[in-house]
């Protein structure tokens, strides 16, 4: 090998690229010689946390990954695959693009969407929907930070809209919240789901020595070089200099790439393996396909389509230019592949072949520039067991407000217009959430419900599968108690699905944490993964894959631990699809579950009392699961008209939200007197109205079903209490607490909730 670095340069360059001294020693040992600059670059990206999960892998092993419906397990391929019956399957995954979005929100978010879509269609699936989970710092106010955070929000939303709308995928669900903990380090997690027939599954494997390796899609440029390493560092004041590490997205090219790949897959023979070039680009796609195929790969960089001349081998191997795929074709079928991409006006070039020796061999101008055993870059990358240490225990006293009626009344309006709780219409209106004619419950409901046509071409009228999707995570809860907080996220997600009538079938997670070398942060990660694992085992659902995003911290410190989860569910009968909003006046309103709890971790404590402290809400997993069963049973029996879970803002906010149908709103009169002074405890008005304990759902039902609801609830050991009636939309919304009656103008409440985000986004900085 020519061009190897001398030993001193090896260590200084390796350090600059983010490899530790120990890792550099390992590189020397693996190669048995000094590396070239390109080889060091390859090791640095493949051994980054982003690609290797070197710090998180031991924790991820706790997740349940098997189940009767699992076809492809988590970690085996680019995304897991689950059976949904009748020969069809779904493939879904969530992924973060936090660091790029922090410094270039539009392109950062857009390319995040592009990347997750490729992860899905590389499996042979047709992507059918998108969703997202976003976190930003405080956006209210005229100060420069708030202005910057509004710019980040506007840029991220526009970026997601740009990519998703153009490629023609509906963005059907999301969750967004705002907290100073995300100041300087917003979170952008994007989710994609696709469908496929069982026989159409494609794998990212390079097998069959002599098979050609074909590069397809956009040309390689200098953008996003070593982005995976950039994403595996803390964000600092200097991170703006890393802007070249952010990729630039072209959804139009990806749309062509998507259609061309799916068209090519109709030929069962032509493609042996396929992998997208995402993080670590050509490097990752070549060594991962080789490692999975127990083979080697040899490529010549001169054959790679390039956007500019004189690209060096380091840049070509580490570029994260978007909209590119690597295809391992079957020998003799090269023309089929090349012609398909030509039809779609895309570049396609044979750049190498599959070999037998297990080596990833890279040549440029006919000269070797890298020669590394592929498995040493992937499966056999170093793994670390980091130190976990809980923070010193602090006193966890729940915040105790003492508010009069007037203040309590004002609190509801204030909570409804706080950005975390307010309507997200300003955001989802920018996303095409209806294309592909599948969106049955659109953004605004507890979970999105989508119909998926199957057998469209053979049948007179298409048959459908109905799936539900929800994303959740309350970073505030996780900051107080990462184990319980993560569990709460999983159960809330499952509860949201149950409210629409769905049963959960699988989960994907996006673990957003700070720097894992901080023992407190690593402890949070350990606790949160344990919480997710236990909750999934209890719910009987597999984790089908996901993403780990560490080093989410700015000079202000680490973010709140944010283990975002997305759960996909199935609805067997479309008549069971249940909305969140009260549909008509003259219905009974019920609370399933009990309403008690303290205000720790609540939006009320944060927004009204200014306290982000106290104990985390408590969870009873058995009750929670029983509630889900009860909901699905009541829905299947046709006993309830709507169901909405209580989450941020507690019971009062949940009741109000049920009255906010955008087209046909109704109002409500609720009497909560029966909940005051429960046995053996005292419960203040504020605690009753605004605590955020889980395991409770507000439903509406015809009064004739009262007996049935009571009986079913009793059988599941879930308290069921009739708390009021729905009323015409122009009646006031009232909450009765013994002698105290809180009265709200429904239309006014709605308007403050519906327009809050839009008004905030129009704030101008003071000059």
């Amino acid at each position: 090998m020519n061009n190897t670095l001398n030993t001193q340069d090896t260590f200084t360059t390796a350090a600059r690229l983010g490899l530790t001294e120990h890792e550099t020693q390992l590189v020397l040992q693996i190669l048995g010689r000094n590396p070239t600059f390109t080889e060091l670059g390859i090791f640095s990206v493949m051994w980054s946390e982003h690609c290797s999960y070197k710090c998180s892998k031991p924790l991820l092993k706790k997740f349940p990954t098997t189940g009767s419906s699992v076809i492809i397990k988590a970690g085996e391929e680019n995304a897991g695959i689950l059976d949904i019956g009748d020969g069809w399957a779904i493939c879904f995954k969530i992924e973060s693009h936090n660091h790029p979005s922090a410094i270039e929100p539009f392109q950062g978010a857009a390319t995040g969407v592009g990347g997750i879509i490729r992860d899905i269609f590389t499996m042979g699936a047709r992507p059918i929907l998108l969703a997202n989970s976003l976190r930003f710092g405080e956006i209210r106010g005229h100060n420069p930070q708030a202005l910057h955070n509004r710019r980040l929000l506007a840029g991220v939303v526009a970026g997601i809209a740009h990519y998703g709308n153009c490629i023609g995928l509906p963005t059907v669900a999301g969750e967004v919240s705002f907290d100073p903990a995300y100041e300087g380090n917003p979170l952008v997690n994007v989710f994609c789901l696709g469908i496929l027939r069982h026989q159409d599954i494609r794998l990212g494997r390079a097998s069959g020595p002599g098979n050609p390796v074909i590069y397809v899609g956009a040309k390689t440029g200098r953008d996003g070089v070593a982005g995976a390493s950039f994403a595996s560092r803390d964000l600092t004041e200097d991170s703006k200099k890393d802007r070249p590490a952010v990729q630039v997205g072209d959804p139009f090219t990806e749309k062509l790439l998507l259609e061309a790949c799916l068209e090519l897959f109709q030929d069962a023979e032509a493609v042996v393996g396929i992998q997208d070039m995402g993080a670590a680009g050509l490097t990752c796609s070549t060594c991962e396909t080789a490692a999975r195929g127990n083979s080697g790969i040899e490529i010549e960089l001169d054959l790679v389509p390039q956007r500019e001349t004189d690209l060096d081998s380091f840049s070509i191997m580490l570029s994260e230019s978007q909209e590119r795929m690597l295809i391992i074709a079957r020998k003799g079928h090269e023309d089929r592949v090349l012609n398909t991409f030509k039809k779609w006006d895309l570049d396609a070039a044979i750049i190498g072949t599959v070999t037998e020796d297990g080596l990833m061999r890279v040549n440029q101008h006919g000269t070797p520039v890298a020669e590394i055993p592929a498995r040493r870059l992937t499966n056999e990358a170093p793994i670390y067991r980091l130190l976990a240490q809980p923070p010193a225990s602090s006193t966890h006293i729940p915040p105790q407000p003492n508010l009069n009626n007037l203040e309590l009344t004002a609190a509801l309006g204030a909570l409804l217009s706080s950005p975390t709780i307010a309507s997200k219409r300003w955001i989802y209106r920018q996303f095409d959430h209806m294309v592909r004619l599948g969106t049955i419950l659109s953004p605004g409901h507890d979970a999105a419900v989508i119909r998926i046509p199957i057998h469209e071409d053979s049948a007179e009228s298409p048959a459908y599968k109905y799936i539900a999707l929800s994303l959740d995570c309350n970073g505030h809860h996780c900051a107080l108690d990462p184990y319980t907080g993560a569990q709460l996220a999983v159960y809330e997600c499952a509860r949201n699905l149950a409210c629409t009538g769905a049963r959960p079938i699988g989960l994907t997670d996006n673990l957003n944490f700070g720097n894992p070398h901080n023992p407190h942060v690593f402890w949070q990660l350990e606790q949160a993964t344990e919480g997710i694992a236990q909750a999934c085992i209890h719910l009987g659902i597999p984790v089908t894959g996901g993403n780990v995003s560490l080093y989410n911290q700015s000079p202000l410190g680490p973010i709140d631990p944010t283990p975002t989860v997305a759960i996909v569910g199935l609805i067997d009968d479309p008549s069971h699809i249940t909305p969140s909003y009260f549909p008509t006046p003259e219905l009974d309103i019920w609370l399933l579950g009990h309403p008690y709890g303290h205000l720790g971790g609540s939006q009320f404590a944060k927004e009204i009392l200014g306290k982000k402290s106290g104990p985390c809400p408590q969870l009873n997993p058995e009750q929670e699961l029983a509630l889900h069963h009860l909901l699905r049973q009541l829905i299947a029996q046709g006993h309830i008209a709507s169901a909405h879970d209580c989450s941020e803002g507690g019971l009062a906010v949940a009741i109000a939200e049920c009255c906010f149908h955008p087209l046909h709103p109704v109002s409500a009169h609720c009497d909560l007197t029966c909940f005051l002074n429960p046995p053996a405890q005292t419960c203040s008005f504020a605690e009753l109205l605004y605590n955020e304990f889980p395991t409770r759902v507000v439903i509406s039902a015809n009064q004739n079903n009262a007996q049935k609801i009571l009986e079913s609830a009793q059988a599941h050991h879930i308290p069921a209490t009739k708390i009021g009636r729905t009323t015409p939309h122009d009646s006031p919304l009232t909450l009765q607490l013994a002698n105290h009656k809180l009265t709200f103008d429904r239309a006014q409440l709605y308007s403050s909730w519906a327009t809050a985000l839009e008004s905030i986004m129009q704030l101008q900085p003071t000059t």
Partner: protein, 224 residues
């Protein structure tokens, strides 16, 4: 009736339109590839929504030069019926089969929501419809004279309105002049609209008013 749905690179409502024509309207439909030069004996040409050629340059500006568009122009000159939805409407304006232009929404944001529409002219009369829009560049623009001509020739098909059916600035989602959402050619056989009727043909999706719109179109081209 046989419909031909043109697929440009970047079209993304082509499958939705196919679904509605074939399964809801119960008519024949086929796809026409943008590089083709044969309309395959289709009676109606449909230009679907999407981002043809990535909306680069201007929406619909490049699609206009696709080989298939020469055939579509010939079809139009023979009096053949054409419907353009969203990006299809933009292509029709760029091809000068319909007058005016569609420019960036007043808010500069993409907007996806249901809107209330009020029909006018012989085909749609005073029909009130509730149909989604989804576009970033749907602000209809024309010169004062052009607008006068449209009004005079009864070429306006739909305007954005309030739930009660009044034409107000508040209910104009994109800044279109005179709240114009859809227009037709003077011979009434070429229809262009920003709303997506194909997204409102099934109760499961929230509205069936799109079906009314398609039926009015079919009625119109069978009589005119």
């Amino acid at each position: 009736m046989k419909w031909g749905i043109v697929r440009f690179p970047g079209s993304n409502c082509d499958q939705d339109l196919y679904h509605v024509i074939r399964y809801i309207l119960g008519q024949k439909a086929t796809y026409l590839w943008h590089k083709d030069t044969d309309l395959q004996n289709c009676d109606i040409i449909a230009l679907p929504g999407g981002f043809s050629y990535g909306d680069y340059l201007r929406c619909g500006a490049i699609a206009r030069f696709s080989p298939i568009m020469q055939e579509v122009l010939a079809h139009a000159s023979r009096g053949g019926p054409i419907i353009g939805i969203c990006n299809g409407f933009q292509v029709l304006c760029e091809s000068q089969l319909l007058p005016g232009a569609l420019i960036r929404n007043r808010t500069l944001h993409f907007v996806c929501q249901h809107v209330h529409l009020l029909g006018e002219g012989p085909a749609l009369k005073q029909t009130k419809l509730y149909v989604p829009i989804a576009h970033g560049e749907g602000c209809y623009y024309n010169s004062p004279d052009g607008l006068k001509k449209l009004e005079y020739e009864n070429q306006i098909l739909l305007r954005y309105c309030s739930p009660q059916g009044t034409i107000t600035e508040e209910d104009n989602p994109n800044g279109s002049l005179n709240n114009i959402a859809a227009i037709c050619s003077p011979n009434r056989r070429i229809w262009g609209m920003m709303p997506h009727p194909e997204r409102a043909c099934e109760a499961a999706l929230g509205s069936t008013d799109g079906l009314t719109l398609f039926r009015c179109f079919l009625q119109q081209i069978s009589t005119a």
